[in-house]
Symmetry: C2
Subunit: 378 residues, 2 copies
């Protein structure tokens, strides 16, 4: 293992502070233990077998993924209890069947078509969760749709050799749109209240027992009341990012990733710095920060890690390969950036930066591969 | 080769209509010949050695790329004349030097630091283009900065063994912000006027002869006057996309790519359809279409290709793996979409959809790999 040096970086590189990530994992695992919750972290954020091992060290044995391909990858890497937290894609039913023969598999359904497709499977029984929309309006059955919910649950229970009805599952994605910690906590409490209400109504119809599984990083990080929940499935907390920082969910020093980007031009007259690092490295995800839409904040190399964010600097625009930093003259005076220097972009959304770059360079000198780039690259 | 069928698609898949792409290539190559322009297409859009061969058939021998890695990939695939159209990243100077030993290489400079880095090279001479900002304000030296331009040019000419000063190059990226064909044409004409003005001023200082190279797909597609230009470098035209369609640059039937996405849920009550196909497949690029911001339009399988766009339907939201189609009741009546069907998303920006998906499935039944996924995938 070579010691990591900033001098070794030629092109946009996803830096990972392993200590910070491990501490984030430890903290969430501890919290789950404290609240006696089943902890099934979402691995779509890191997508790496190596980082998966850090979770195993914390006693994690069950995971969440967002695609069949990701489930196959983690099954190949020894994981035996995997939930595919994506409303069942009936076109992949044969691969799902094959997976169920290898691992204890969970899937989500939100309509009767999905249950029918599962009923046609030949493999072992799968766990089935009813995906509930408690207000995020992305996927899932509306939490007030008791009759449809009951119909789907009964269809699941009518196929006991093929399916086991685990319970109700939601992703409160709308906490990401919140504007304060109080609002996140209120949405999280509302989520649990609504799921419990539906659970009681289904119980009254003789459908149960049902577990409750919830997922979002903002809620799971901030909440101190998980009444009614059996399982949590946060993912982003392993790295956090500027979005979570803007919500007050994490501190800057809990963010575990930064994209190191070479400076290729300095345009002081328009207070801009051009970096090699664009949409294909950072993604086009933006977040509001101090009133500006930004693709990320800007830190600088400091010792063997990165500095606090440079005040008033941010990634203002990106094209395919270029990023344009807004870099005010005052910032340039305090923290000069020159051609050939590195700007360390703290991404708006770490999941999508990982997706874009596909491999990590830890500050400890290790290159970590992922599902996305399983082969060594030059 | 297996005949392509829509039934074979399980997960988000980048479909490519080879005939349309080849016709797009032919048309642009013909236009370059007609105007006696050097044609150096930008390969960042397709990133594929196989598709590169379609250009060779049209007599193309010189190409543009946006990264050193892409230059290496196309050099490995037999291309001998490559321009890296990205302001020189001095941290990659050794790889650039190694490339210059293998191919006729061109690079862009916009500051004296880049020239100094090139002067330190040991390899063969590289072509150097001065990158000019004619108003897009992304990269490049402002076209009015005669003194700085002259200084950089002189520094290039002071190292004749290492560098050959080719000329002035720009990417008129601001044509993408235009609102009409007339505005695109006006911006394109202005680009040429400004470059010629700078060229004349540099000539008067004894710096020359200089060529002029321009690049954007909107301008190169629509313009019928290239006075002063020596070379064109469009890239997106090979596939076009909804952005180009919205600008009036192409017709719908000139768009060569669509992302096939399985339908996983239908929520008629909110006029939405959920597809397997999100930010990691389509990117987060949006474009205004009929007053709505969209990630893409929606077509349906039709024969061995795709239909016209479904009226009033579009990709309204994306998360990591999900896309949410706005799909009005009237559309649902005319063109029902059910769980397990395919929606064919015509992407807002084809370059980024290619980047996200990394391989093509042609309607003729061929799987085409790229730099991004050079290895066969399951």
């Amino acid at each position: 293992m070579m010691k990591f040096t900033f001098a070794s970086i030629e092109a946009p590189t996803l830096l990972l502070d392993e200590q910070v990530a491990r501490a984030n994992i430890h903290r969430m695992a501890e919290k789950a233990r404290r609240f006696r919750l089943s902890f099934r972290p979402h691995f779509k954020t890191h997508q790496s077998a190596v980082i998966g091992e850090w979770f195993k060290r914390e006693g994690v044995g069950q995971i969440t993924v967002s695609s069949v391909e990701m489930a196959e990858y983690f099954a190949d890497n020894g994981w035996q209890d995997i939930l595919i937290a994506f409303s069942l894609n009936v076109r992949q039913i044969e691969r799902i069947d094959a997976l169920a023969k290898r691992v204890h598999l969970g899937v989500l359904v939100e309509n009767i078509e999905a249950v029918r497709a599962l009923a046609a499977l030949e493999g072992p029984r799968v766990d089935v969760w009813l995906k509930i929309d408690i207000g995020a309006h992305r996927t899932g059955l509306d939490w007030r749709e008791l009759q449809s919910g009951a119909e789907i649950c009964r269809a699941v229970k009518a196929n006991p050799d093929r399916m086991f009805l685990r319970g109700l599952l939601t992703h409160s994605g709308h906490t990401y749109e919140a504007h304060s910690k109080a609002e996140i906590l209120a949405l999280f409490a509302e989520t649990l209240t609504r799921l419990q209400s539906l659970k009681r109504e289904l119980d009254a119809l003789g459908i149960g027992p049902l577990e409750i599984s919830v997922g979002d990083t903002p809620g799971c990080t901030l909440a101190e009341d998980f009444a009614g929940a059996n399982e949590i499935r946060p993912g982003n907390f392993v790295f956090y990012d500027v979005h979570q920082l803007s919500l007050g969910v994490c501190g800057f020093r809990e963010i575990a990733v930064a994209v190191a980007c070479p400076v290729v031009a300095v345009h002081s007259e328009r207070e801009e710095v051009v970096i090699y690092g664009g949409a294909v490295h950072l993604s086009k995800e933006t977040i509001a920060w101090n009133g500006d839409m930004t693709y990320g904040l800007v830190a600088l190399p400091q010792g063997e890690g990165w500095s606090e964010p440079v005040q008033d600097a941010y990634v203002a625009r990106v094209s395919q390969e270029h990023g344009i930093l807004h870099y005010p003259l005052a910032a340039m005076e305090r923290n000069p950036l020159r051609v050939g220097d590195l700007a360390l972009v703290i991404p708006a959304h770490s999941c999508l930066a990982v997706q874009a770059l596909g491999q990590y360079q830890t500050l400890g000198g290790v290159k970590i591969r992922t599902l996305l780039k399983p082969y060594a690259q030059a």
